[in-house]
Symmetry: D2
Subunit: 408 residues, 4 copies
Amino acid sequence: MSAPKKVVLAYSGGLDTSIILKWLQTEYGCEVVTFTADLGQGEELEPAREKALMLGIKPENIHILDLREEFVRDFVFPMFRANALYEGMYLLGTSIARPLIAKYLAEIAAQTGADAVSHGATGKGNDQVRFELGVAALEPNLRVIAPWREWDLSSRTKLLEFAEQNQIPIAKNKRGEAPFSVDANLLHTSSEGRVLEDPGVEAPDYVASRIVAVEDAPDKPEFIEVTFERGDAVAIDGTPMSPATILTKLNELGAKHGIGMLDFVENRFVGMKSRGVYETPGGTILLEAHRGIEQITLDSGAGHLKDSIMPRYAELIYNGFWFSPERLMLQALIDASQEHVSGTVRLKLYKGVARTVARWSDHSLYSEAHVTFEEDAGAYDQKDAEGFIQLNALRLRLIAARNRRLKG
Amino acid sequence: MSAPKKVVLAYSGGLDTSIILKWLQTEYGCEVVTFTADLGQGEELEPAREKALMLGIKPENIHILDLREEFVRDFVFPMFRANALYEGMYLLGTSIARPLIAKYLAEIAAQTGADAVSHGATGKGNDQVRFELGVAALEPNLRVIAPWREWDLSSRTKLLEFAEQNQIPIAKNKRGEAPFSVDANLLHTSSEGRVLEDPGVEAPDYVASRIVAVEDAPDKPEFIEVTFERGDAVAIDGTPMSPATILTKLNELGAKHGIGMLDFVENRFVGMKSRGVYETPGGTILLEAHRGIEQITLDSGAGHLKDSIMPRYAELIYNGFWFSPERLMLQALIDASQEHVSGTVRLKLYKGVARTVARWSDHSLYSEAHVTFEEDAGAYDQKDAEGFIQLNALRLRLIAARNRRLKG
Amino acid sequence: MSAPKKVVLAYSGGLDTSIILKWLQTEYGCEVVTFTADLGQGEELEPAREKALMLGIKPENIHILDLREEFVRDFVFPMFRANALYEGMYLLGTSIARPLIAKYLAEIAAQTGADAVSHGATGKGNDQVRFELGVAALEPNLRVIAPWREWDLSSRTKLLEFAEQNQIPIAKNKRGEAPFSVDANLLHTSSEGRVLEDPGVEAPDYVASRIVAVEDAPDKPEFIEVTFERGDAVAIDGTPMSPATILTKLNELGAKHGIGMLDFVENRFVGMKSRGVYETPGGTILLEAHRGIEQITLDSGAGHLKDSIMPRYAELIYNGFWFSPERLMLQALIDASQEHVSGTVRLKLYKGVARTVARWSDHSLYSEAHVTFEEDAGAYDQKDAEGFIQLNALRLRLIAARNRRLKG
Amino acid sequence: MSAPKKVVLAYSGGLDTSIILKWLQTEYGCEVVTFTADLGQGEELEPAREKALMLGIKPENIHILDLREEFVRDFVFPMFRANALYEGMYLLGTSIARPLIAKYLAEIAAQTGADAVSHGATGKGNDQVRFELGVAALEPNLRVIAPWREWDLSSRTKLLEFAEQNQIPIAKNKRGEAPFSVDANLLHTSSEGRVLEDPGVEAPDYVASRIVAVEDAPDKPEFIEVTFERGDAVAIDGTPMSPATILTKLNELGAKHGIGMLDFVENRFVGMKSRGVYETPGGTILLEAHRGIEQITLDSGAGHLKDSIMPRYAELIYNGFWFSPERLMLQALIDASQEHVSGTVRLKLYKGVARTVARWSDHSLYSEAHVTFEEDAGAYDQKDAEGFIQLNALRLRLIAARNRRLKG
């Protein structure tokens, strides 16, 4: 295959993607376009611009974008409509950010006439798959260069040598090996690798970077009210906010109360198990609140159908199939359920737990008239239950009679 | 329909089922057989015997059984192998006890030659369905008498009048209306009705009867280790215990640390929503621990399949179909996955949260050799990921190319 | 409950619903509004008008509507987008017509200020459920009167007596018992009951009323081309036609070639098994053709997802939940898959079989470049398959290694 | 990677695998062990032995096995218990044979101390995946050599040159390019490629190699009776037969009557679509018969659950995951449903169609007492249907009332 001429690189400004930047220039002799996004990872982006300039990137080839609102509005919120959990536990904080980056890699490539894109994900993880499936679905002819699968810079020593040879500045704390690897965005922070590699050994306290230790959380509970419209959070304590503002606020609240820590061994799409520590403070509250408002606004038929397809939906996102037809089909199903998922949930935040304590809505399907232990004024005829049970039991009776007949 | 001659009554010894006992005698003139089970509800059973005798039941017609081990071994544990949650949240504490009672109603009826069974569940709830589907599946010709759907004792006043007229003793605290209704067994305590009827109003603190308020839980975390064999818990902190003993011990631990409170609005099988407060201290720890050991011992194919059928399995149990062929089929599937779900999970219990912090097993599928960030000595060839991604992307590329062709 | 004042009756003009009409008048003293629909059952509707008038219905209370286009466009076609089969075999010909009738019962009741609707379905079948769930979902306060569940006209003799007493004309061939019961519409004709009641006895030849015996079908195959747009058939042999016209034409073709007979034992929603003979000539061709066009235009991810939810979708329709939120959600999912299901299928019709022999489309995802046995000019790199297999095999290898380790 | 020392080759005796045999010897200098199986493909196996000897294989390295009974008993029959169809149509005739071959490759490798296995599947198809996943699951450390992905014999000319250079005899009819490629076993014959590559062009008549053209099938129908025990066919017309004998007999019957032709475009696991013509005479009859016996012996709960997981089960087999834990779990579920799937089905075979016309069983759940149009002697109380419908309608009514309230 001939060398690419222009490559859009997902560039964080950190050491690893700076090495990739330089490696692309030297290995392929190609023009490099950088793309750096603010997804709420909590880092300044301007240093990435300076560093890119320093590494010889033309100013017009540096793309820095604040994508926080798009991230929450078009990726995080649609996913939370589904109450998505991967393997029963993981809120998909890394998984859901990757297709957005893929989307911009593809778009910037189209705009700038690039013939390839590149990323810093390794060949062992899920992120390479998520980036590359996203790009394939959006720009099918675009080539992807994954340096970690290609180069021979397979040890820390070799990487640092390459950096020094190429005048890439190395922060002091990057000289040594980091004790674990971190990914962060507005939804979560994940940590994995090295000191976390043995799932039989507890994660050290210093792994938590975002959530206060539950022991240090306030001794008093805090109550908040989250308001939803059509399945999406739109206000906290009555104050309307944009999607990213809401998630930011919930993150603060969750972090303060020690909410959202997860120590988890998961199955990667590429076939192995890995262990991660995930911090998802706001997302954990949001899931609880969304479940809470669905409890009174969603019918059982709709709710059970949603629950039954959720594992598949979560798996698709985890595996990188955000832009696949089947994810879009499932999203259509989920969104069709959310028309009346509007109302307010009151939650108690305390010592690591966000718990729904009350919920109310104009769209409520809850009928006190039907459920009451008191006289219900004819809302419900208890005698109906007999016929209901008789017909539900009929097939069970026929089976039992058959089995008895055969034994008899 | 002619009157039943002998009826087996699920008898708690309380006021309501005592009224039913007497009502069956007076309304149908039939012989009554009582069945009272210890499912871990935490009440003495001997008073039920005395009360039955006092109400004219013959000694040989009084059946009192300690079913705690059978309950946990044959009902609770099989269900926990599935990580079953109804509507994403409810651990099915009431639902799972009903088929066991149905089983003994049917068995005692067969032994004693009774032609009917009776229970104290109302016509609005799920329990009537669960009792009656269970009985239908086991003794298809047995008649079920559900007094609450038949009689006209529709108010508290009428019930008390009936009791007084029939010399049924009324405890002082039963004169007034209870502020909510309670069901309890070894797995959980549920509260619902009256003060809980408005889901927009917080449950009063006094509803919790089993779990300490999280504010009052110890200020120090406690760590425990739960050991599993083939999907079932078999030891705590290295000490082997019987199923009921384990659940009892986990209940103590959970209750002490404020673990397992749920305020929940659910969809009943009979078509309405209801709100309950559930306390499931031991079960909440057990679910977390079971998920923890599955994380390292269960393959992704097995785990994802289990997760995908879980909502249906939970719904079957909730709806009372424990003895249906489809529940048995799903159980066969689940049990087939648990052969290697053996090992130990370390959990941190603190202020309302049970969290897995470590897990290890001889049966582990976790491969540090594959996942490591370090040199992996050839365990995994990162170049394989390229082909993996290419073929997974192929169909997405073909779609994108088609869509582009049509637009072009 | 007080007597209804005005009742809308689903009225066929036949003996049974004429008896119901009169019974409603005499039993409840209520005004009766008749609703008679042309769903393609192949009967004149004007006799129903005359008979209604004769039975004392006011002219303005007689509603006769040709619903064939609405039936096919809004009910049959959406269902065929899903390739729906109940229990693997049944094309749901009766089930899909019932919600349309329910819709008009509800609408006419609202228009005419009626407080009840009535139908002629018995208490043993599915149709009562389908009518009544449909009405409940559309007009929740409307009462439903199901005479077969209420009256004591439980034998043929009593029915005929009632008819004679009430001057209801009885056609000669209705004096005796019909050998089986028939339901028909544009999609299918079903026969059940009496001579068909023993599923171990072959259906007599005379049961088939619509499809020519395959032995008598033409000795020469006929080839047709069906064109689809977005999942719906829009043309036959290049001639655009309306939905009902297409189905009518396919019915002619299928009937002529002996296509679409099914002898089937099914599970009714009310808990029992029943045996029916179904004739669905056009629908059988349409399903084959729709599968044929999906084969080249639908991606595997979309197709497999559709297939996996199809049984549930079919069950919902069979059970009468057309207007439920979960059917609408599944429809949203299905419809989201059909955007590119456009193109033409060539079918061979011969002796009971409709078989796709060719299909083509501008929307095709079939890539000869990729699949060819010949040189593919680099469209596909066979070496990619190795990585694909390696990573798919990884978890299987880890399991095998674990199992070996434990045995070793 | 170092060269393998001893390789077990899946050897058909044909030109292609003979070339592979020689290529393995020359390319790797390794000892070759051949494995040739009779799966009912209808070819003599002794010529394979002679050819292997001629190509220098030691007699003790030649393994020829008749696996027809194992194939049908342990692979085909378990699959038919599930009524498995891939993408709604394909009976998985090729897919189901591959894991059996993989099993013997692994076993013979273990027996002979081979360190690799090899097969003749190309890099574009599914069979490579099925062979290699099977081997990985059974012998995780065994290497697989797939010559078609490795060598440069990429054209017919080069292959023939290689054959000539290596004294491999070339049958006259192998000089030219075959017009399509064929795979056969006791369950089916598949044809694909070349003249079949354009799915818009009808398959030529000469593609059919096994089933008589339906136009030439007998003008008289033939009736047969197939008896099942626990889900497996055990007798035809009352004569007990072994699994392979039954399938052989059904093949004769189906072939004679033109039954079991399928022209199909499918989605390969490796990401592309392909078109095949499949002939599955006996299997088509067997599926119809199995559905027929399930209709009366399987409860709706069991049947609907089976139907809902079938697409996933079929996909697993198609994709090569026969030995995966999730296939085994699904098999446990399916097998748990078959205990009572015993009885006899009468089928009419005629002009391309196998149709159930009657079925009977001691295990039948069909209750004429319940379903009859006649007096049912109290088996079923039609009034029960009212309560059944009321409670099923309740949630729909609550939704409709809510929606109305919001609009009003």
